[in-house]
């Protein structure tokens, strides 16, 4: 287990994660980032404004960035009836 931090960059600005979370591996960290992005987007959807330009940087305790998940990666978008929903977005739930 190691402590990882999830810094958020989105339309409301930069939110540094001082607390962090104990996680087993980077795969878990990616899942955490994706769930976090979806949680934020779900509220934006309710307000009728969705900003997909943000991202989460995953940092280790030394402050080194070990990964980045963009908002765009966290959801599938079907904008036209012909769009396939396997076009890029992560499948994690």
């Amino acid at each position: 287990m190691r402590r990882l931090h999830f810094d958020l960059h989105n339309g409301t600005g930069f939110t540094s994660d001082k607390e962090g979370r104990e996680l087993a591996d980077e795969e878990d960290a990616r899942d955490v980032a994706i769930r976090s992005i979806r949680s934020i987007l779900s509220e934006e959807v309710l307000k009728g404004m969705v900003d997909l330009t943000g991202w989460i940087d995953i940092r280790n305790e030394a402050g080194i960035e070990i990964g980045r998940v963009t908002f765009r990666e966290a959801v599938c978008l079907r904008l036209d009836p012909g769009d396939r929903d396997d076009s890029g977005a992560s499948r994690q739930t």
């Binding site: 989105n10 939110t15 994660d17 949680s39 934020i40």
Partner: protein, 238 residues
């Protein structure tokens, strides 16, 4: 250290000195419990109820995949699992958030107390009804409030509950991590962190390392649509 509990009772209903003495007589000396300890496990047979004398505790339920919902936060003065007196086995767990001091009051003593002092029985019935009212408010938050509204409502409630037991300060140690706040509010920790930042920028609330500072209580109430009637601060006599 039982003062907070008596203050909570007395805030809503007068207590005679005999009633107060009868309550004091059934509460054993407090014992220390370290933070993050589960003290009531789901399904176990209970023979005592936990009176929280110092610190912060919570009740929670988990889904099979590990997702957690914290269903109530308890502060000093709360009879955390008084409902265990009738339910005997709880469908949820109870844990300490901070280091705590608790008194385990045997159910047999509670039974004798309310037989001898029926009005105290009614006051404790009121107390479990009040817990149910707070759970309904929690449902309202989870179902209908925005992220900022949920956080604001929670801190408004805590501030009022602390005032009831005599804590007037707008700074208090809740001891909860952002992950625990997230589990309370149906959000993710990153979302909680972002929302706390927005509340800080709006000069409503500061929250760092478990330490809360209410900057603008009226502003928080307005943001949450907080209506304290559910806390029954001025109930009809019992």
């Amino acid at each position: 250290m039982i003062a907070a509990h008596l203050a909570k009772l007395r805030f809503r209903h007068p207590l005679s000195s005999e009633e107060e003495a009868a309550i004091r007589a059934i509460v054993p000396p407090g014992k220390r419990v370290a933070r993050n300890s589960t003290i009531v496990h789901e399904g176990e047979l209970l023979e005592a109820s936990t009176l929280l004398l110092e610190g912060v505790m919570c009740r929670f339920k988990d889904l099979a995949d590990g997702k957690r919902q914290i269903t109530q936060i308890h502060i000093a003065g709360d009879f955390v699992d008084l409902h265990g007196f009738t339910l005997k086995r709880l469908e949820h767990d109870v844990m300490t958030v901070t280091d705590c001091v608790v008194a385990l009051v045997p159910h047999e003593h509670i039974r004798q107390l309310i037989e001898q002092w029926p009005r105290l029985g009614r006051l404790y019935w009121f107390s479990t009804n009040l817990d149910a009212s707070m759970n309904r408010e929690w449902e309202l938050s989870l179902g209908q409030r925005s992220a900022a509204g949920r956080l604001a409502a929670l801190f408004c409630e805590l501030q009022v509950r602390l005032q009831v037991v005599g804590v007037e300060s707008a700074r208090f140690n809740l001891g909860m991590s952002q992950s625990q706040l997230a589990d309370s509010l149906g959000m993710t920790p990153v979302h909680v962190n972002r929302t706390l930042r927005l509340l800080r920028e709006q000069r409503l609330l500061n929250y760092q390392r478990g330490e809360a500072q209410i900057v603008d209580l009226e502003g928080l109430k307005s943001l949450a649509g907080f209506d304290e009637r559910y806390l029954y601060l001025d109930p009809d006599p019992l």
